[in-house]
């Protein structure tokens, strides 16, 4: 199958244009300088080629003015590149408010994706055009890297932590999804497609895709099965903190530090309960390391999130 011979990748996200503009800027500067150097070398090589065997040219020791010039000018130019690139990076780093969330688990050698509504996909991701999408990513084994060239986004997925990234597709279409960090035997098979659909198409896909329970529902079931509810519920005072309304709030730890109870904190508290205990509770929770998969963890967290949302709706302030 001949799929064409593209010279430049498609730009299909809100950040792609900015990245390409900076790229062309640096390329232009580079071409200018290398052309200058190559031209000088060619010219000197021809103009000053050795005419006779005993020719001895006059020595030139150097020139401080020249040295300073060709140190300072490149320095200033690179600082422009640095400033531009860094501001672009920082701007592209923070996801916009209200982005829709997708949960990603990397695993040798596939990408598992869960939508909050319950749709699950493997190596395929369907997203609507024109809406920001935030990915929360974890890995079951080694380091992977989630890479969509057409969106100019990439982020390593490192064991033990949640990575996150976001993008907003601007063009409907089908785009490559790669694992960019070498992850073992079938690394090059850990690829897939991102399908960017128009809003109606996306709605159609949502209703057509097989959906079981939502992530929160699945999480609630796990919550029951692992026995979390025996301690973490309103009518078991003292044993563990009540989780309604916890997500997104600031909690005070034993050692006086305050942290925001976000995905990362919840994950750590489930796997290493003693690491950051909430003030007023003794560390008696067992670790769930090895008993719950990264996917399951994400579901439990989605459940804790959902009960935080309900709480907020019940107590308007």
């Amino acid at each position: 199958m001949w799929t064409g011979f593209p010279l430049f990748p498609e730009a299909a996200s809100t950040v792609a244009g900015g990245v390409d503009a900076l790229y062309w800027f640096v390329i232009a500067i580079s071409v200018f300088f290398s052309a200058g150097i190559f031209a000088a070398i060619f010219y000197f090589a021809l103009r000053y080629s050795r005419k006779s065997l005993d020719e001895v040219p006059k020595p030139i020791h150097g020139s401080l003015a020249l040295e300073i010039t060709w140190s300072v000018i490149p320095f200033l130019i690179t600082m422009v590149m640095f400033g531009w690139g860094t501001s672009l990076f920082f701007r592209n780093f923070h996801p916009p408010e209200g982005a829709m969330e997708i949960f990603v688990t990397g695993k040798q050698w596939m990408w598992k994706l869960q939508h909050p509504e319950g749709q699950r996909e493997i190596n395929e991701l369907h997203v609507p055009v024109g809406r920001a999408v935030k990915l929360t990513m974890a890995t079951e084994d080694v380091i992977h890297s989630f890479y969509i060239p057409a969106f100019r986004v990439k982020k390593d997925v490192v064991p033990g932590i949640y990575s996150s990234m976001w993008f907003e597709p601007t063009k409907p279409g089908k785009y490559h999804l790669f694992c960019a960090e070498y992850c073992g035997n079938q690394h090059s098979g850990m690829i897939g497609w991102v399908h960017v659909l128009s809003e109606p198409d996306y709605e159609a896909w949502l209703s057509g895709a097989p959906r079981g329970e939502t992530m929160a529902q699945a999480g609630e079931r796990l919550f029951q099965r692992l026995g979390c509810f025996t301690c973490h519920r309103a009518d078991s005072p003292g044993r563990g903190p009540v989780l309604e309304g916890v997500f997104g709030s600031t909690v005070q730890l034993e050692n006086g530090v305050k942290v925001v109870a976000d995905e990362v904190y919840l994950r750590e508290s489930i796997l290493k309960p003693s690491a950051k205990t909430v003030a007023g509770y003794r560390t008696q929770m067992p670790t769930f390391q090895g008993q719950i998969s990264e996917e399951g963890l994400m579901q439990v967290i989605a459940y804790i999130k959902s009960i935080a949302r309900q709480e907020r709706m019940n107590t308007p302030q």
Binding site: W2, T3, F8, P9, V19, Y23, V26, S30, S34, I37, A40, F44, Y48, S49, R50, L53, V56, P57, K58, P59, I60, H61, G62, S63, L66, E67, S71, F75, T78, M81, F82, G85, T86, S87, F89, D141, V142, I143, S145, Y147, P149, A150, V153, K154, K155, D156, V158, P159, G160, I161, H176, F178, Y182, C183, N185, H187, S188, G189, I191, A275
Partner: protein, 549 residues
């Protein structure tokens, strides 16, 4: 075409061959237990060439596999093992020791007027250590290979890989000490063994470059040694230093790994820059432009090289603020490199330029290094590296630096000092031809990789989407030309060792103490310790003094 060559010595070579370091004694023991830095350099030359061709063999396999998008020539497993061995062989066993251990070893005592390096036994020991490390790594290869990539990222290398990681880790660990000892030896030698009158700012720039390199070798290499040891402990004994289950951080491994492995790039390129500085002044027959700036930029590169390692980790989960610092420092390290390129170019201005093979390599070096360096500005850029990290753009960038830069300098240096090393001239026509072949082959191989990299082709892919095929075919075609380009010098240099024209002591009319010795030099280099009275590269010494009177 030999018109530009310096006039041959008027007297024909004496019928009786004088005693020199090659014919002083013979036999296996005289080589295996030699303390002569020149013989040790040749031991390195032979073993490095061996490892280069092993690494090259794997490169050929990789490029063959990548001709078609499907993974059809070999299995994914073998492909992964091939790029691992290619990387390990080329980085640890070829590029890092190449110029320092061969040319540096041979030339530094000659250039500073010393009888030998400060610690000849240590020098021999470092070759044995190098061979031991190399043999262990070869054993890992024969026993079934390693599939972690040369970067050995945890937790893949510690927990998930089923290949011979331990053996290779120990091999690389051992090899590290060879590099440390070489660097240590050079620093002491340059400090303590210079001939009378040879002040710091009269030293050849080759020596300056090696001094800077040695600093990196001594202060950087131990960090990779301990890091690899930790990986081995984790893999072998369950000491989970980087294991997230024990609260370990896999990113810490990357920090420690790149703390050495980024400066290691400067171990490869700095000596090559030293070679180019020698060559450009000799074949322009003119004092190098801005001597102190070139010398100091070597030192600056060595120091700044230690401050930039985090630019390998922009998307790894490293803090974005640390990313900003590392990006800033990475741009800074570009400045001394630029200074060098400008100074070399300026040296040619109003010179007397001849087109001998070493000078062709200089042209190649400046061109390719310029491209490699400028694309470095792209990948050092936080905003762009997010897209380019771990793609073929990176692969192309560092091959432009390491092959286009370091290897071009190495070959240029080998040709330049070949008469000194062997006492024979290489065949100029063949040499020019192969330099041209290399230049064309190299660009055809690696330039398409910039394009396919920006398209988004990730590195270390055994199979790839079809729209990348055209670039990959170009690259593989170029690789076959490049491979040929490496074979030709291998053949004619070997041939010339025996059949080449006898070389006069100073065939290029070059300045420098090494050219005052016979070709090849005697075992202890100098009959009498030379006394230096002039600056380096004083090609116009007589005229200058005339004018000043």
């Amino acid at each position: 075409m030999n018109a530009a060559l310096a006039p041959p010595p008027s007297a024909p070579p004496p019928a009786e061959t004088p005693t020199h370091y090659l014919n002083a004694n013979y036999g296996f023991r005289s080589w295996m237990f030699t303390l002569d830095h020149k013989r040790i350099a040749l031991l390195y030359l032979a073993s490095i060439t061996l490892f280069f061709f092993i690494g090259g063999f794997y490169a050929v396999m990789l490029r063959l596999e990548l001709v078609t998008p499907a993974g059809d020539l070999m299995s994914a497993e073998n492909y992964n093992k091939s790029f691992t061995m290619h990387g390990v062989m080329m980085v640890f066993f070829f590029l890092i020791p190449s110029i320092p251990a061969v040319l540096g070893n041979f030339l530094i005592p000659l250039m500073i007027g010393a009888r030998d390096l400060a610690f000849p036994r240590l020098n021999l020991l470092s070759w044995y250590i190098y061979m031991a490390g190399g043999m262990l790594t070869l054993y890992a290869m024969v026993a079934g290979g390693v599939d972690t990539g040369w970067t050995m990222y945890t937790p893949y290398s510690t927990t998930y890989s089923n290949s011979h990681v331990m053996v290779m880790a120990v091999g690389i660990f051992i090899n590290g000490f060879s590099s440390i000892l070489t660097g240590l030896n050079f620093i002491v030698t340059i400090h303590k063994m210079r001939a009378p009158g040879l002040t710091w700012f009269r030293l050849p720039l080759f020596v300056w470059a090696h001094y800077a390199t040695s600093v990196i070798q001594v202060l950087g290499t131990p960090v990779i040694a301990i890091t690899i040891l930790l990986v081995a402990l984790e893999r072998g004994f369950g000491f989970g230093f980087f294991d997230p289950k024990l609260g370990g951080d896999p990113i810490l491994f990357q920090h420690l790994f790149w703390f050495y492995s980024h400066p290691a790039v400067y171990i490869m390129i700095l000596p090559s820059m030293g070679v180019v500085s020698e060559l450009v002044t000799c074949f322009s027959r003119k004092k190098v432009f801005g001597y102190k700036f070139i010398a100091m930029s070597s030192v600056a590169i060595a120091v700044f090289g230690f401050l930039v390692w985090g630019h390998h980790m922009f998307v790894s989960g490293q803090s974005i603020y640390a990313g900003m610092i590392f990006s800033f420092l990475s741009f800074l390290v570009g400045i001394p490199s630029a200074i060098k390129v400008f100074n070399w170019t300026a040296t040619m201005y109003k010179g007397s330029i001849s087109y001998h093979t070493p000078m062709l390599y200089v042209f190649g070096f400046i061109g390719l290094f310029t491209i490699g360096g400028l694309t470095g500005l792209i990948v050092a850029n936080l905003g762009l590296d997010v897209h380019l990290h771990d793609t073929y753009f990176i692969v192309a960038h560092f091959h432009y630096i390491m092959v286009g830069g370091a290897v071009m300098g190495y070959l240029g240096g080998i040709h330049f000092w070949w008469p000194k090393i062997t006492g024979r001239l290489y065949p100029e026509g063949w040499a020019r031809f192969s330099a041209l072949v290399l230049f064309v082959g190299f660009n055809l191989t690696f330039f398409p990789q910039f394009l396919v990299g920006y398209l988004g082709m990730p590195r270390r892919y055994h199979a790839y989407p079809e729209e990348f095929q055209v670039f990959n075919v170009m690259s593989s075609a170029g690789a076959s030309i490049l491979g040929l380009g490496y074979l030709i010098p291998m053949i004619y240099l070997t041939w010339s060792w025996r059949y080449g024209k006898l070389a006069p002591p100073n065939p290029w009319g070059a300045k420098g103490l090494e050219w005052t010795t016979p070709s090849p030099p005697t075992t202890f280099n100098f009959e009498e310790t030379p006394v230096v009275t002039e600056e380096a590269y004083a090609y116009a010494q007589e005229q200058e003094t005339e004018e000043s009177h």
